[in-house]
Symmetry: C2
Subunit: 734 residues, 2 copies
């Protein structure tokens, strides 16, 4: 993995920008053309946001449509044209009635097509086998494409995007190939029926769009920090198209993904997120002209006493979240360290086969996870044909309320058992699925687990209230004929709780859920569940799934949320330690080219402080290894008289040289004249804060004006790992 | 105004906190009681948020109810009890019909009470006179209370809260007295009919609650930075109760008010905002059990072509916003500089009299501004009795759509004229009202101006579409009998545009408006208007009203949003300048007590750098003037042998003294060992960024390890003023 470090990027960007801006302002006095250019420069940011929104919205629409089609292809094919999905195929059918709108003669299941009948156990077996075969084919294609063309396309991408936004560069992670391959393989992976979602990868796709579109604009191509602002906005766009929640997307980017989120970005992110959401809506992939993935409308308010089951769901979500993270990290570590990691294709195929074989018999695991969640969130109306809504219609005297609580039929109980099995299945299979070499998001599986648990509890509560409406807790608000408990709301609260437990999102989670229902009414249940879930999960393990994966991969990520609460000082962390040899430094006027070259070859540091003299150790500046190497190489090639014995000067004025001595080499221009310093007595708490807020990569340590040592981001990460009793060598990159 | 400076507050807080935390963790091993304490410590933050939410919600409810009552008192009194407002008074009446629900025998106008009749021009004059008298009485009480007890209670408070959150301390600004007086006078000021709102002051009230409740918790009482986090949350609570928009409140605090907004605060702010909103709802001051101030529900979607009038409204909002800021600042400057400022009571009385005299004859200015906005936002249904909804019911063949566009009656045209007059009146009177010595918010007046303009444009569009539905622009979507144009939506968009033009809010504005309607459908019109308005206003003048007032008052506020784009270096800004005498420094071991005292008395700096020696100028630390004074005073009083000739040591070890010499004074403990330094070549851009992000008050400047000078926040503000061609001496405080 090629990674390049940089110094003060977050600080420098405005400087670079102002320079360009100044130039443009001067030019604009010269001609109208230049004026146009200056206006376009001012508006290029907005234009870029517009383009990202359009591109990400269009891609998301394409992904939705293709995934829908391929998912249906596992079950059968349309005779009018194989490119129609089940729903489209039956749109033109005349025989479509409201109840059985997805049964039409044009749509043939594989059994009908191959053996000519859809009845009997042989047909079932044919369908079963075809289902598994298609799933294996999709999964094989996905993993092969990822391995062959874009290894970065696997996973959700959120841990890496967090790391990139914190200042680390992973070349190609947000490139063209990653975008193309991730888009294609995401469709395949989702269609294969694996327990994964497309929401996380969509954020990666949107960030790729942002990064690629940055190259169109000079202002963003050349400026690393400005580009990261664009990536923050792109992350918001990703969530916006994933859930149809633009405000939630912006808050997600702010809370979960971004490291440096200036206010200008907030407004632009919001604009981009809105453009993307409306682009997606005009593509209308769900066919319901709704902006949101799971549109729900509940008919009855919630009662204060229901907070108890909501909090129970929160506890469940927290426990499951924490357990999932532990199990998943343990499994991923095993994959990294044992021979399991050598056979990624086989692993994907085995998991797909197991998933498909176990999923087919249960209708709630056979359908796509988003459909499942949709059905679980749904508030049963009288016309609903779903098994989950098959209540017994009893004639109640007060028949005014059509949606009154009713006794469940055996069908509902059957559905409950199936859901319980689906719950166990999803909980287990997701652990081994997340982290495989295919694009895989975690939002949808987590939400599915929570939604199933919530629906189960909701129906249980509903039946309890129906049969025991005289209990003191139900009396008054759950009289017979009242529509007092909405199992769909429980499913929603459960989904929020599980998602919160896994990702530790807070405000953005509640806002995304709020945008799904559009009513302030349900914020309190959602919030109670999300809060409980976060507290419970945090009590078991501090890290969310993304932080855990960042640590697993050893990315140099300085968590902005975690408080550093140890009382160490800068001198405890800085290099060199007391027993080490002294710090390798350059002097401003007493070294020869050879000395510098020796220092560069003998050490592997990425930069060297420049001091007045070895005796005074007074700091002058900081020179990067790369710049030194390039400058000396260039000078040796192009500049006359530069030999190994040439003196190197970092000073402003070069003293007159003796005529016999070789020409001096002036290197002041490659030196950073404003290196960041702290004193050796600075508490590490403050140092960590400075690193975080200013996005530094290193900082020099002085004592009474003399240079003592250096602290790098890696030193800080190692120190933090040590303080938390973790292995400091797990920090791999620098 | 007594102001105290502080160093590194934002950095130090976690240190202090960790210390307490560590102590508590150790203790918890000792006893269960300590464990309880540790849990309560961890939860005290949440408890504090809960209390702030409850208190602010309750206060907001109280303010709403009292203001409603007093406003109605200007028109008449309830015979059942003078403490009933008009609506409550008529609730018990049997004669209440739907149309005239506010006319009941129990409620007597002043004319009825005094001269026994409500008819005729004499009765009108009596009512007129009583209206003006009550207004004058309320205004007089308000301004007298403010002047007598709490001078800080005037204005909206937002500029000052912004300044406080940026690290400046204004003693008493958030104190008990300010809270009590602001709450009372806010009710009086709103009831007096002045063109002001209660929303801005509610933020101040919520911040007072936050600050006062901080004193209950040790953790927050002692930690300045933690308290500022609480204040950020309290600002969110203020907006939440003002508009019933918890998410918008949090975003407002993030975008507009706060300086340092860690993610932990985000979640807690949201919690507090939600608690406050629900407290307010359970008090139910508007009697409609709605959370929001202006609940609106529109029945028809908007058409893409309508974006043209929406953008026009945006331009209007931007122009008005910029013009308002200029005019208001010019007026406030005149008040500051001329004799006008010496008669604040008279000023308030004159403005109140003019407002009342001009407002009474026009029913749209006579009603309270919130009611006006409510009526303007309203989508006319067939049953509406308002003059604005008095359309002619024509029989259309397609009578299916009951809300179809209809021709306006003369009543509507009359209302239009009255609204146009009200628009001019509000636009002018608000300029002189905002900034007077009474609590005054700007949200409601700005929204009123925009809502009037929007409604006027909306009705014009509607009638245009009705009479010219064959025009090419209306064809297709505005056929006869279609409900194609909603004037209420125009009013809402106009309100957003004007509010945006004045305050330059962006995301928070759109989200607040979104929470009012609860539909993602109308985000695009709102966003288009808000964006246009901000661009237009920014093109005329960069500053929003709050920044303009901060600058007018000379608060030391470093704007976080403005980019510093000049290419100066730290050495151009630092003191001493080249012509100045050298920097006053302390040496670590060569000065006597007398030397230090002389330095302190001869200069007025708030702190002094400590160097190794005058020759080397190597920096050791930084000592605050206050700490030095106190330490020397204490030492002279309590410590034996400390005389004027005693040597002062800032070193770690004191060298052995000659027996004859006086006892040495060790002052290392009062010295900050980790002062912040930058080099003289650091671009000012980076320095400004460091000051902003780390919340510094000063920073030392070095060159090659030698101390050169110092840059204070004031220096930076002066430099920025100079660069922007403003008077640098307008920065008053330090």
């Amino acid at each position: 993995m090629s990674a390049v470090s940089f110094v003060f990027p977050l600080l420098c960007y405005s400087l670079c920008f102002s320079h360009i801006h100044l130039q443009i302002t001067n030019k604009s006095k010269e001609s109208t053309w230049a004026l146009m250019k200056s206006v376009s420069d001012a508006f290029s940011g907005w234009l870029l946001m517009l383009l990202i929104g359009l591109m990400a919205g269009a891609l998301a629409g394409g992904i939705d449509i293709s995934a829908h089609w391929l998912t249906d292809l596992k079950g059968g094919v349309c005779l009018n044209g194989f490119w129609f999905n089940h729903e489209h195929c039956c749109w033109n059918s005349n025989e479509t009635t409201f109840v059985e709108r997805d049964k039409c003669p044009q749509w043939k299941s594989w059994a009908e097509l191959i053996i000519g009948t859809a009845e009997g156990s042989f047909a079932y077996i044919v369908n079963y086998v075809m289902y598994v075969c298609w799933a294996l084919l999709f999964a094989f294609l996905a993993v092969s494409l990822v391995r062959a063309f874009a290894p970065y396309a696997c996973g959700s991408g959120i841990p890496e995007i967090k790391t990139i936004l914190s200042g680390f560069i992973i070349r190609g992670y947000l490139g063209k190939w990653t975008l193309v391959i991730k888009t294609i393989t995401l469709v395949l992976a989702v269609s294969s029926g694996l327990s994964l979602g497309k929401e996380g990868p969509l954020i990666h796709v949107a960030c790729c769009c942002g990064n690629i579109l940055c190259h169109v604009f000079t202002k963003y191509r050349k400026n690393e920090a400005k580009r990261r602002e664009v990536l923050s906005a792109a992350a918001a766009v990703g969530v916006s198209v994933a859930f149809g929640a633009p405000i939630g997307g912006v808050l997600f980017s702010l809370e979960e993904v971004s490291y440096y989120f200036p206010l200008k970005t907030l407004w632009r992110s919001f604009f981009a997120a809105l453009v993307a959401a409306f682009t997606l809506r005009s593509i209308n992939p769900f066919g319901n002209s709704r902006l949101v993935l799971f549109y729900v409308e509940f008919h009855s308010p919630w009662h204060l006493l229901e907070l108890v089951p909501f909090i129970l769901l929160g506890i469940f979500g927290g426990l499951w979240g924490a357990a999932f993270i532990r199990a998943n990290i343990a499994w991923c570590r095993r994959r990294k360290t044992t021979r399991l990691g050598h056979y990624p294709v086989l692993e994907v195929l085995v998991v797909t086969a197991v998933t498909a074989v176990l999923a087919f018999p249960n209708e709630y695991t056979r359908m796509s996870t988003s459909e499942l969640i949709s059905e679980l969130f749904n508030d049963c109306t009288l016309l609903d044909s779903s098994k989950l809504c098959d209540y017994i219609n009893v004639n109640i005297t007060k028949s005014s309320n059509e949606l009154a609580d009713r006794p469940a039929s055996t069908n509902v109980y059957m559905a409950m058992w199936q859901l319980a099995l689906a719950l166990v299945f999803k909980m287990l299979i997701t652990v081994v699925t997340f982290g495989m070499k295919v694009p895989s998001g975690l939002f949808i599986p987590s939400m599915a687990v929570g939604a199933i648990a919530g629906r189960l509890l909701g129906v249980a509560m509903e039946q309890l209230a129906y049969y025991h409406h005289d209990w003191v807790i139900f009396r008054g608000w759950c009289s017979p004929g009242a529509d007092c408990i909405t199992p769909g709301l429980y499913a929603m609260v459960g989904a929020a709780a599980c998602l919160g437990g896994v990702t530790r999102m807070t405000v953005s989670l509640v806002v995304i859920m709020f945008e799904l229902t559009g009513g302030l009414e349900y914020i309190v249940p959602l919030m109670a569940a999300a809060m409980t879930s976060k507290w419970v999960a945090d009590a078991i393990g501090r890290e969310g799934i993304y932080e855990a994966h960042i640590r697993l991969n050893g990315y140099p990520f300085l968590e902005a949320k975690e408080e550093f609460s140890h009382k160490t000082l800068a001198m405890d962390v800085m290099r060199p330690r007391r027993s080490d040899p002294p710090l390798s430094v350059l002097t401003q006027d007493s070294m020869t080219v050879e000395d510098v070259e020796t220092l560069i070859t003998e050490t592997s540091y990425s930069g060297f402080p420049v001091v007045v003299s070895h005796e005074s150790q007074r700091l002058v500046g900081f020179a990067l290894r790369r710049d030194l190497t390039i400058s000396i190489e260039n000078a040796r090639r192009r500049q006359d008289g530069i030999v190994s014995t040439s003196r190197v000067f970092f000073t402003e004025y070069t003293p007159p040289q003796a005529p016999s001595s070789p020409a001096p080499l002036k290197l002041r221009s490659v030196m950073d004249l404003s290196p960041f310093t702290v004193t050796d007595h600075t508490p590490m708490e403050i140092v960590v804060d400075i690193f975080r807020k200013l996005g530094l990569r290193q900082c020099l340590v002085t004592h009474n004006g003399r240079l003592l040592g250096i602290i790098t981001k890696k030193d800080i990460l190692k120190h933090m790992a040590q303080m938390a009793n973790r292995d400091p060598d797990s920090i791999l990159f620098n």
